[in-house]
Amino acid sequence: MFRVTRRYQFAASHRLHAPVLSDEENRRVYGKCNNPFGHGHNYVMEVSARGPADAETGAAVDPRRLDELVAREVLGPFEHRNLNCDVDAFRHLTPTSENLAVEICRRLKRSWSTMFPGEWPKLEKVRIAETARNIFEMDAHEIP
């Protein structure tokens, strides 16, 4: 069994603000990330899939198929966008990197079988580095 990981990058802006909290509480909880005008990051995302090597090709994952899926589901909709305004999932959900990792797992899982119709490979995890110091990892099996 192999785990194959591909790294991608996208730049996007967001604002962390929970509508159920007061403005003051939001400032206390999120600090600078609550700035009303938002701010941006160069997100670095690693997508990992697991599977056995195919007997014909010697590859467990075709990176070009993974690229196509990630481009369609994540990079296209997120690149140079305001996550709060431009991505439906974040209209009413705070786009923390935790929630972003969950949303990306959901997006990849929902059309995974169109790109990888066989039993293998399976999506294993998504790892998001919001900055070089803040890293969030989501196990894809926890996403229905």
């Binding site: 069994m1 785990r3 990981t5 790294r7 991608y8 090597a53 014909e56 090709t57 075709d62």
Partner: protein, 141 residues
């Protein structure tokens, strides 16, 4: 506890299956099927798993680990054309998956029955693509 040592090597390869036509190879492997080959700076991370020795405080002697990786991997692979010069890649397609598995087979005996058991081989083909191999496992995981 895991301990990890990194080494690098540069090598060229071509990914083609001789049973497929030129057109099919191009479709399956893309640019990697270009017949004259191309190269990468591979980065290899090898992790051993074990408990620190009560006397030395070490899972495994990193100097010795470095010697094993240099002798078994860097020397045979560095600045070589894998398909032409490094068996089994005259008959096994040198995808990063197959290279990682071959490296596992080359180094695993040197760590077996010692303080640190080979846990994983991580091979970066580029900074944007890497493979982890954990040895032969059933496909249920």
């Amino acid at each position: 506890m895991l301990i990890t040592r990194k080494v690098e090597f540069s090598a060229s390869h071509v990914c083609r299956n001789p049973r497929l036509s030129d057109e099919e190879n191009q479709r399956v492997f893309g640019l990697a099927a270009n017949p004259n080959g191309h190269g990468h700076n591979y980065l290899l991370e090898v992790s051993l798993e074990g408990d620190p020795d009560p006397v030395t405080g070490m899972v495994f002697d990193l100097k010795e680990m470095k010697e094993v990786l240099n002798r078994e991997v860097v020397e045979p692979f560095d600045h070589r054309f894998l398909n032409h010069e490094v068996p089994p890649f005259d008959r096994v397609i040198p995808t990063p998956e197959n290279i990682a598995r071959d490296i596992w087979r080359r180094i695993e005996p040197h760590f077996a029955g010692r303080g640190g058991r080979l846990h994983s081989v991580r091979l970066y083909e580029t900074p944007d693509l890497y493979v982890d191999y954990f040895g032969e496992q059933p496909c249920s995981a």
